[in-house]
């Protein structure tokens, strides 16, 4: 159970190799030694993360296989994971792909891979997760979204539209879970220096996984619905999303 000061005892990470997720869970396990389940396409790729979390204080860490695009497996995966491990105080949805925008504009398979991972796959696994969270009557569900979905840009619109879609889904979900004991939180980071963005030119207001993790932990403790990282992003995006198309398209960032 989450305690009165926000300390958690059990965490499920969907996307167990995510840098942001790992940085977040490291903070969570530090004081109360939480149990952690890392779900990833290749669980063997989580070995280093497992060791790191144990060193950080986790009482137990397991890695399990989870394929975001194998939709048919999701219900069974969620059932097995909750049945084996009990309640989760936190389910962190951290998987996603950036993809290759140029290829995705020409190759339907490439475009679908991005959309099916980031949007369809997330929806598909979220439905059974929410069923379990509703039944346990407590817990937090956190989505790593992105500012990319707030106003979709020319340079990464396949990724951006998938994030816009899932962000919208979670906004509605948050409303539907309002009196359920389950806390839904959407995290919208700007450019984060991670494996996913390795080699890309950093955008203004870029942040590190540790900064995102700090914001997630703080947001959870304070019961926030939406967390922008850095916080200034909220105001930057508020301006950007209201710019006329003609102006927005001329901006160097689009």
């Amino acid at each position: 159970m989450r305690d009165a000061l926000g300390e958690m005892q059990s965490v499920l990470v969907l996307g167990g190799t995510s840098d942001i997720a790992l940085a977040t869970v490291r903070r969570i396990v530090a004081r109360r030694g939480a149990r952690v389940v890392l779900a990833a396409r290749k669980p063997e790729a989580c070995e280093a993360a497992e060791a790191e979390l144990r060193a950080a204080g986790a009482s137990e860490v397991h890695s399990v296989a989870f394929d975001a695009t194998d939709f048919a497996s999701h219900e069974g995966f969620v059932r097995a994971t909750f049945d084996r491990c009990g309640d989760f105080d936190l389910v962190l949805v951290a998987f996603g792909v950036l993809g290759d925008q140029d290829r995705a504009e020409r190759d339907p398979a490439a475009a679908l891979e991005i959309v099916q991972t980031n949007f369809t796959g997330t929806v598909s696994v979220t439905v059974p997760v929410v069923t379990r969270l509703r039944a346990q009557g407590h817990g937090a569900l956190v989505l790593l979204s992105s500012v990319a979905g707030e106003r979709v840009r020319r340079s990464n619109f396949v990724y951006g539209s998938s994030k816009a879609g899932i962000d919208g889904y979670y906004q509605g979900l948050a409303a539907s879970l309002a009196s359920s004991g389950v806390h839904v939180m959407i995290v919208r980071p700007g450019f984060v220096h991670t494996k996913m963005t390795d080699g890309l030119k950093a955008a203004p207001l870029s942040v590190t996984p540790d900064e995102v993790a700090d914001a997630v932990v703080r947001g959870l403790a304070l019961g926030r619905g939406i967390v922008w990282v850095p916080p200034a992003m909220r105001y930057v995006m508020a301006v950007l999303r209201h710019l006329p198309v003609a102006v927005f398209r001329r901006l160097p960032i689009s």
């Binding site: 159970m1 305690d3 009165a4 005892q9 309640d87 039944a135 346990q136 407590h138 304070l222």
Partner: protein, 455 residues
């Protein structure tokens, strides 16, 4: 009528959803306790436990609100038999005009008799806690259904249930020993103390002259005034001690609620500035030298009951109450705690310092001979390291924190604080072998030791 409800403790932290049942007869209670939904069941009274003791995420909660009858008063033996949902407020309204008074009264009248037993509550009386004056109770357990529990016949079951946080069964009825009083007033002596050492000294010197004793400490005072306090102590007034004008209403008890805290108070209203100002006023209002007044039961025992829903003043984020006890000889822990709270500028209203001169007989009861300090603090993540650090000192001194107030203890410390935990667990397991009784507190601390990993 069962309905899903978000429940939290008095501190309003960590709300969870449960199906709330309001049984009004024994048969319903038996069926709900022996065959609850898969996530178990726990009883709930007036929700005055500060943390998560009377909530059960995803499971059933039995509200005792309809078990509200006073069944019998035995004037020969001086006992009263009530259903477990009867509040102490109701009890006082019935008993005081007849010249009777419960042996142990806590800091609020809005607790039920069932909750008082499950927490083995204490008060400003130093020589016993609530269950010490329970003659017998009717309990419903998953293993045995409904039966009468008496301390002589089944000491283990009785002392596992008293203070057992509702995890051995649901108390439906109890018979309480009473004391006779001549009036509904208290002769109260109030004095100021310079610092916490001065306060403790005065308590040790003169507490024996009083039935009730409590010190209100200003936690924001520092330096030479660390732990300055207002000490209030009192005895039941005899008829002759009343002013003549009060004698015609000598046993009257008609407490009124003066104010209600509105629901829209924001987080952060209580900050070091506002709280410091309040504490300063409180301290200055108290007389410099010992001052004697005759006052009512309510201002003496339940000063906060005048403000309905006062827990709202902490805003939606809520607050935690931290209460610990350390044995005599470990005064340094109290001092260190006050120093740390003062240094951290934690905006806390008055802390309460009391002495116990008895040990709870409950297997996991709180009171032990020593000093107990309690304070309310707005919930904030930065509080965790501060309280975790104090827990260490408390454990080292052989003390413990009070489960009824707890909402954040590190589960690993439970066994060190409660040396008879294993004994309690095995008694509990016999009464509830299939672990049907569950609460969020049990999930969080694994009190029952069933290793259920939160489910």
């Amino acid at each position: 009528m069962a309905a899903p409800e978000l429940l939290s403790g008095w501190g309003r932290t960590s709300p969870t959803l449960a199906t709330v049942h309001r049984p009004d007869d024994l048969e319903q209670i038996v069926s709900q306790v022996t065959a609850p939904s898969p996530r178990g069941v726990i009883a709930r009274g007036l929700g005055r436990s500060y943390g998560d003791a009377a909530q059960n995420a995803g499971g059933d909660v039995l509200s005792c609100s309809k078990l509200d009858r006073v069944l019998a008063i035995d004037v020969e033996k001086g006992t009263v038999t009530v259903e477990s949902g009867v509040s102490l407020d109701t009890l006082l309204r019935v008993l005081l005009p007849l010249g009777w008074f419960p042996m142990v009264i806590p800091g609020t009248s809005y607790v039920t008799v069932g909750g008082a037993i499950a927490s083995d509550i204490h008060g400003k009386f130093r020589h016993g806690s609530f269950a010490d004056y329970v003659d017998r109770m009717r309990i419903v357990t998953p293993a045995r259904g409904a039966y009468m529990l008496e301390p002589e016949a089944d000491a283990n079951g009785f002392w596992a249930t008293s203070g057992g946080m509702g995890l051995t069964g649901v108390v439906t009825e109890a018979t309480l020993k009473l004391q006779s009083v001549e009036t509904s007033r208290i002769v109260c002596d109030t004095e100021r103390t310079n610092d916490v050492d001065d306060c403790m000294e005065r308590m040790l010197e003169r507490d024996h002259e009083y039935r009730y004793s409590v010190a209100w400490i200003d936690c924001l005072a520092s330096g030479g005034h660390l732990g300055r306090a207002v000490l209030t102590r009192g005895n039941h007034a005899t008829f002759d001690e009343l002013p003549v004008s009060d004698r015609s209403t000598a046993r009257e008890y008609v407490p009124r609620t003066l104010l209600a805290a509105p629901p829209w108070i924001p987080n952060g209203l209580l900050n070091p500035v506002t709280v410091r100002a309040f504490n300063e006023l409180w301290f200055r209002r108290a007389p410099r030298t010992t001052h004697r007044v005759v006052e009512g039961i309510k201002p003496f025992f339940f000063p906060l009951d005048s403000v309905r829903d006062w827990n709202r003043i902490y805003g939606p984020r809520g607050f935690v109450q931290y209460q610990f006890v350390v044995p005599f000889g470990s005064e340094q822990v109290v001092r260190t705690a006050l120093e740390r709270f003062s240094a951290a500028r934690v905006p806390t209203f008055l802390a309460v310092l009391k002495r116990f001169e008895h040990d709870s007989r409950s297997l996991i009861g709180f009171p032990m001979s020593g000093w107990t300090l309690a304070l309310d603090i707005p919930a904030s993540p930065r509080l965790a390291p501060l309280l975790d650090g104090l827990d260490e000192l408390v454990v080292e001194a052989g003390g413990r924190v009070y489960l009824t107030k707890d909402s954040r203890l590190r589960p690993e410390l439970l066994a060190a604080m409660y040396p008879r935990l294993d004994e309690w667990r095995s008694t509990r397991a016999a009464l509830d072998p299939d672990n049907l009784l569950r609460s969020d507190m049990d999930r969080r601390l694994d009190l029952s030791g069933a290793g259920r990993r939160g489910s």
